[in-house]
Symmetry: C2
Subunit: 202 residues, 2 copies
């Protein structure tokens, strides 16, 4: 991958040995996906992140699994950030992922995640990552759900999304513009033109 | 129109005489679009609304035009509701429209409206109407902007939209589901099926 793209890589593996082998080879400052609030995970992954001086995604999961409520996700955010601080990893290098679950199995799943985003941003001010398209799993017309969720998540404070950049890039720019973050609609129009010129290619 | 559809009508005319003539003929409890915070408007329209015992949309505009800021829109909301109360028109019969302007001419236009919606809901608790598609005027791919704005506006507290029901109905149901308002995704799936069966028709 490092030979194909020019951006830093996100290394995503549950295999510790694979992460350890890949980290020295990745160019720039890579992003590790992920650590979680389990003791075993914190103790293994954080030293690796510190040694490579890179960034890490922290999932709000612990030994008891994925918490259903907002408060527990906040508590686990605090735990991950506190442990990172002990390794001298600053909060700006920890991107918290408050977990996106499918609304098809629990209709309150998305609203709990949206509340968690708002509270984590307010209390800790860290960046927020989301596996955004999980939200629509199992339902028809997933793209429509993904579009609405992206708008709601950005308004709540998410700033890092694992999603399809081709299908959702204009929705992202549209949302930024509507939130007052795009003077003269410049980035929205630039993205529209980029998509158009892509489509015009033979 | 009253012979074609079975729902109450929204009577939209700047012509007072036309409204006065149409109101007795409209079935059920019609909705008048609109009164605004100008003295001349309040004095002419509100007695008409009271006499017909119907509902009215109140635009946050006064003699000085459309206010750019949130505070003035809040103040004009208070003025309209207070004047309605003097005519014994209850707040639940006044739907406030805090005005949607194009982001193409002012990139903060949408975010000001979204803030106004949140504060009007918090301080007055009344229903909110929006001419939602105004937001995308003058920009390409208006539908993408309209979709994101609908999601953001619903999250802020809007509950009455002037928009294209065919193109935006699934986005509306998707947003409701993501906000935790649709147990078992029932209304989202029903809407998807309704669209599908409409498309299947020869």
């Amino acid at each position: 991958m490092a030979e194909v793209v020019e951006v830093p890589l996100c290394l995503d593996s549950p295999n510790f040995d694979a992460l350890q082998a890949a980290l020295p080879l990745a160019p720039g400052r890579p992003l590790v996906n992920s650590v979680n609030a389990e003791e075993a995970s914190l103790e293994k992954i954080l030293p690796l992140v510190k040694e490579r001086d890179c960034a890490v995604i922290g999932l709000t999961i612990d030994e008891t699994g994925i918490p259903k409520d907002v408060d527990t996700r906040l508590r686990l955010t605090g735990k991950i950030l506190e442990r990172a601080a002990r390794f001298d990893i600053p909060p700006e290098d920890v991107i918290i992922d408050p977990l996106v679950l499918a609304v098809s199995t629990d209709h309150e799943a998305a609203s709990i995640t949206l509340q968690a985003i708002e509270r984590i941003r307010a209390e800790f001010g860290v960046s927020i990552n989301l596996g955004a398209s999980n939200v629509s799993f199992g339902l028809p017309e997933r793209h429509t759900l993904n579009q609405s969720f992206l708008a709601l998540a950005c308004a709540a404070g998410a700033n890092c999304l694992i999603s399809d950049p081709f299908r959702l890039s204009l929705t992202l720019r549209a949302t930024d513009l509507l939130l007052g973050r795009d003077p003269f609609s410049a980035r929205y129009i630039a993205q529209f033109r980029a998509i158009q010129s892509q489509q015009d290619k033979p």
